[in-house]
Symmetry: none
Subunit: 208 residues, 4 copies
Amino acid sequence: MPRTGASDEPRRSANWEARRDAIIDTSAGVFARGGYHATGIAELCEVNGLGKGAFYHYIGSKEELLAAIHDRVMDEVLLSADRVAQAGGSPSAQLAMLGDELLDIIFRYPDHVWVFLHEFPALTGERAEKFRLRRREYERSVEAVLQAGIDAGEFRDVDPRLTALAWLGMHNYTYLWLKARGRLSARDVAKAFADIFVRGIAGSPAHR
Amino acid sequence: MPRTGASDEPRRSANWEARRDAIIDTSAGVFARGGYHATGIAELCEVNGLGKGAFYHYIGSKEELLAAIHDRVMDEVLLSADRVAQAGGSPSAQLAMLGDELLDIIFRYPDHVWVFLHEFPALTGERAEKFRLRRREYERSVEAVLQAGIDAGEFRDVDPRLTALAWLGMHNYTYLWLKARGRLSARDVAKAFADIFVRGIAGSPAHR
Amino acid sequence: MPRTGASDEPRRSANWEARRDAIIDTSAGVFARGGYHATGIAELCEVNGLGKGAFYHYIGSKEELLAAIHDRVMDEVLLSADRVAQAGGSPSAQLAMLGDELLDIIFRYPDHVWVFLHEFPALTGERAEKFRLRRREYERSVEAVLQAGIDAGEFRDVDPRLTALAWLGMHNYTYLWLKARGRLSARDVAKAFADIFVRGIAGSPAHR
Amino acid sequence: MPRTGASDEPRRSANWEARRDAIIDTSAGVFARGGYHATGIAELCEVNGLGKGAFYHYIGSKEELLAAIHDRVMDEVLLSADRVAQAGGSPSAQLAMLGDELLDIIFRYPDHVWVFLHEFPALTGERAEKFRLRRREYERSVEAVLQAGIDAGEFRDVDPRLTALAWLGMHNYTYLWLKARGRLSARDVAKAFADIFVRGIAGSPAHR
DNA sequence: AATGAATGAGGCTTCATTCAT
DNA sequence: TATGAATGAAGCCTCATTCAT
């Protein structure tokens, strides 16, 4: 079940699609460095080695480009949640896996994630709504794992929503520094975070 | 030792100062809602009930206004760190206090904090540097508490920098939803977070 | 009862209003010469001796400028219909007066009328609808005079709507050449047209 | 003596010619609906089911397409004038025939006529001049009939040029509404118009 | 015959800021 | 203190057309 971002637009050639993807990735870096609003089309054209006409031939509009960057990373994030759900395992293990996958994505797509966490308010209308829903969907995956842990007595009786938000903050916020800390791999950070978080919500010793 | 953001500018009348502060606060809301770059001077003038000339009389420039919003909240944040340091207590208690104060600020200045966490890349030159330093200064306060806990055996032997970043992410990230969760006070959330975090990094049972 | 085009916009200074009117009139000439779509903002700025910013300070948008040109002439046209209605007289005399007033307007505002007869399809949304209604209103004034003449036996039993359209075509179409035929005044043309049209629809000799 | 619009261009296959004609007719509708300048090549391609390359293969340039639409209708109009001239009959009858033919063309080619009456200023250079001449040629045909009627005493001593312009206005202006008045055929309208116009310029009773 | 990627000038509009009043 | 007219660079985007394939 492929979870692609958009569709129903007219079919394009594979070449076009590849070029578009390259533009999306390159532009994510520019947005991450300079900000979405502060980056002009002219700069994007230059960086991508295209004239304005050709640029628009691929991206449709600046906001569509922004949405594509969002989709790129949200596709991965939602896929990771699916993978974890299908992998099974104890709630503690699942939570650790979720974090490991999430930080891996942040590490591999630092620019996309920066854009997605910083510039999502620039999305409007349908695009904003679609993104909000996908984001919410992931949050619920985290909540579900927490609830399962609570039900199994593996976790304390914490508020699942509030705790999910704490977890998300702890992990998402790494977009600000993760790429800069070269000596630590995403996996190391994920391990450290899971250690803190799982201990932090662990059930009473009797259950361990 | 007052830790104010601005200085060396020529002294203005108290009336001017008050009016300026009002503009800063009102504008923070507009920026939080619409984004810094997407909000024009014209809109700020309208919201503040001023013509362009008068508006510039108070704010100097758009970026100076942005910096003022940053200062407003950073002043409070740094003051809170001072207060905690002077209050003393165990590292665990200090960490809890830091979180309580921080969430209180986020709760009381949701717009300013939003702006400060979203739009800081729009600051340039000296203003960006100054802000970066003040932010770093706060982070070190958190690290210091963690290091003290480790030294005292109250906390496990975690990486203080990494753990501080985890703590900051968990708390800062609340700017996205804290104001919207009316039933929970900032204090309740801080308590829940401290529970998770302190347990998460607690030292071996022998030390408790 | 003033029949102004637009209103409820924020009040502006008399100076602003005067300048705006001058821009509207000057621009009408440029549109008439070069066409609405083919005339760029840059050209309008140059002709009016303004920078782009100042230009937009007065006109709001290109389409609003177009609508203002329409209003200028429609205001006059509708006022002329009112004048004729209040002047009284036989239907034949009224029809002649309508024509005299209409050609006088076309003669005095050749550019505005050209624009209004050529570029009205460029109006969109509310502006288009409002214009359509005002145009229809004038047409009904003509129809009413024709109907009165038929009822009085002064005119043959023609189709009032169809005949009004014939009358309008004959008169409106003069926008293409009226200004160029200097030797004939608008009044002369109106006289000749009334001679043709009134004879053309005159009732049977018994009524004369 | 065939009066075709274009010529001297290299001969193309009959297939090419047919396809080109279809494009001209289809595009006339699009221009009539949306305006010449406001309609882009992309839209024309889509409507005609062609890529840009193929489209240009047939039309040469946008303005050439516009000229072709003009020619299509001017060819018919001039042919109608020839037909009337060769048919003979009294000036009154000839004038009625001219109107009947003209409204028939407007009825059968509403889009082409709309384009021709609205967008002729978009023609430039030679194309504009050629069109102006052909238009003038038709006007002279009308004037000639009027002059003949005056000479024969069948019409009053009106100004032939001015009267021709009145007649043209009355008939041409129908392009705005003729297609929309389904219940009336073009022939009915022509009859009503001829009744008005011929009576309007009829000579003194002694001549009838 | 036909495709569609590419050009780059130009489209309309908004921007932050200044300054005469 | 305050106004709002003016600047002109820059904003995003579309245009008609060409050309390699």
